[in-house]
């Protein structure tokens, strides 16, 4: 379980996170939504240990990662997989080399096994016949799939998705969301999705948390969020309220 307690972070004089509190249960898929530039990515970078908070703590399975040494943090990171916003594939490696990179660097598997697992991971994300292509030769949607295959290959217990569908057309966006659902069903990871793609992300998430003014102002099922009375949440999800959703 991941628990964020009173997380605060400032850059210069600007307070980006002002006391974020959130609990994320094992195997659930939670979407953290909010405005662009509202601190969602900063929150994610704290969760994966790339930033240290000014105040507050992040408990992962009972241990505070914000005060851990690098070595302890690396042990926690072994449980994580991350799909970065721009996919962050290694430019100098082929698609296949990118996918099996964690296997080559972190396991002692022989090449036959690596080959087999790499192929299987690529098939899981619906990619075939692009093994030898370089990231610059494939589309944005394919890059996200490759990044997901790379994140899945070591079987992490938690996968973080930083804006996994930003910049993609609605069809590809839908396909990526379906992929997150299908891989979650198969691998059973805890999924944390940072997104502002409303209402599409509601189809993927079990729970949604709304980040506004550096705080979580609402949290609940997609239905709870759509029907939330908070004026900002209401404004943010107004497109969904027009849809066929009954708020009783």
């Amino acid at each position: 379980m991941i628990e964020i307690i009173g997380l605060e972070k400032s850059f210069g004089g600007q307070k980006v996170l002002q006391g974020v509190d959130l609990k994320i249960a094992d195997r659930e898929v939670i979407a953290i939504i909010g405005e662009s530039g509202g601190g969602k990515t900063v929150l994610l970078r704290h969760l994966i240990g790339l930033m240290k908070p000014d105040k507050g703590s992040i408990m992962v399975d009972g241990a505070d990662i914000s005060t851990m040494s690098k070595r302890e943090l690396d042990k926690i990171r072994d449980k994580f997989g991350i799909v970065f916003q721009g996919s962050a594939l290694f430019d100098s490696m082929t698609v296949f080399e990118n996918v099996v990179f964690p296997l080559r660097e972190k396991t002692d598997l022989d090449e036959t096994e690596i080959l087999q697992r790499g192929k299987s991971a690529l098939e899981d994300v619906g990619l075939r016949g692009i093994d030898d292509k370089y990231p610059s030769e494939i589309s944005g949607g394919m890059k996200r799939r490759v990044a997901l295959a790379r994140a899945l290959i070591l079987g992490p217990s938690t996968i973080f998705f930083d804006e996994p569908t930003t910049g993609l057309d609605p069809i590809i966006m839908n396909a990526i969301h379906k992929l997150i659902i299908s891989t979650h069903e198969k691998y059973g990871f805890t999924g944390i999705i940072i997104s502002h793609e409303i209402p599409e992300v509601f189809e993927v998430a079990d729970r949604v948390a709304m980040l506004y003014s550096g705080r979580i102002i609402a949290s609940g099922t997609p239905h709870d969020i759509i029907c939330n009375k908070d004026p900002f949440v209401k404004k943010f999800v107004s497109t969904c309220r027009d849809a066929d959703v009954s708020c009783g």
């Binding site: 994966i48 240990g49 790339l50 943090l73 690396d74 042990k75 990171r77 072994d78 994580f80 991350i82 970065f84 916003q85 721009g86 962050a88 594939l89 290694f90 430019d91 990179f101 964690p102 660097e105 972190k106």
Partner: protein, 259 residues
């Protein structure tokens, strides 16, 4: 007045902090050179990147440096009736000084800048963060192979620069200005000592460390110099300028200590 002093203090503190971070970066990289696992694949790639790809520029600059040196030294030495010493003068200038310094400056312009840009782009496109979040030390993949490759390649490139420069000096001194071939080479053998070659070697190795260290550091910290492409452009410029200045400063210190 107080504001000026405050700003000056803040500027000085930020410079000291940067220097401290640079030194820590170098110490950690040098430590990882001796701690397994070693990334041989990346090392061979970087040897090719620093070495093979810099060969043409080294051959060209080496030849013309030797030729210019021969012309200039010939007219000076002739005034003192010592034109027979042209061979050793060219060889000593190249081996002790110009070979290591100019080859290092050439590699800084060709490979150092490209290295900073490559690592800088990896930084802004979150590829370095990928390594960190995989619990892999990015320095092991990006800094260590470059430092080791530069330590291996810089002395070799300087040696090639020296050789081709001496041959360039031979073409001008012997073929153009009419000095005898025997005088050019026999005097060289007499005057150039092992300590001169050692000095050139030490300089090249240290320049290799300087160029790879500064280039990698600037690439790693691209996000601190600016955003996106502008940040990469700025860090690349800073890497080339800083490496070049440090090469010349360090050259003076090594030269005065090992004279």
């Amino acid at each position: 007045m107080e504001r000026i002093i405050r700003r000056l203090g803040a500027w000085a503190l930020s410079k000291v902090r940067t220097m401290g971070r640079m030194v820590l970066f170098l110490i950690e990289s040098l430590y990882l050179v001796f701690v397994p696992p070693f990334k041989h694949r990346y090392l061979f790639r970087q040897i090719r990147f620093f070495g093979t790809k810099s060969l043409i520029v080294i051959l060209l600059t080496g030849a013309f440096t030797g030729m210019v040196l021969a012309i200039q030294l010939y007219y000076t030495l002739r005034k003192f009736g010592s034109d027979a010493l042209l061979g050793p003068a060219v060889a000593l200038s190249l081996i002790r000084e110009l070979g290591p310094v100019l080859s290092a400056l050439m590699v800084t312009g060709r490979a150092g800048s490209a290295l900073t840009a490559e690592i800088g782009i990896m930084r802004i496109s979150e590829q370095i963060d990928v390594l960190t979040t995989m619990a892999l030390n990015p320095l092991r993949y990006l800094s260590v192979p470059n430092i080791v490759a530069a330590i291996i390649v810089f002395p070799l490139l300087a040696a090639i620069f020296d050789l081709i420069g001496i041959y360039g000096g031979y073409l001008v001194g012997v073929k153009l200005l009419g000095l005898s071939s025997g005088t050019y080479f026999s005097q060289m053998e007499h005057f150039v000592e092992m300590s001169d070659i050692r000095m050139g070697l030490y300089k090249s190795i240290s320049f290799g460390v300087i160029v790879s260290w500064v280039s990698c550091y600037k690439g790693f910290h691209t996000d601190e110099t600016g955003y996106g492409a502008e940040g990469v452009s700025r860090s690349t410029t800073e890497a080339v300028v800083m490496s070049s200045v440090l090469i010349l400063i360090w050259d003076y210190f090594v030269g005065s200590v090992l004279v």
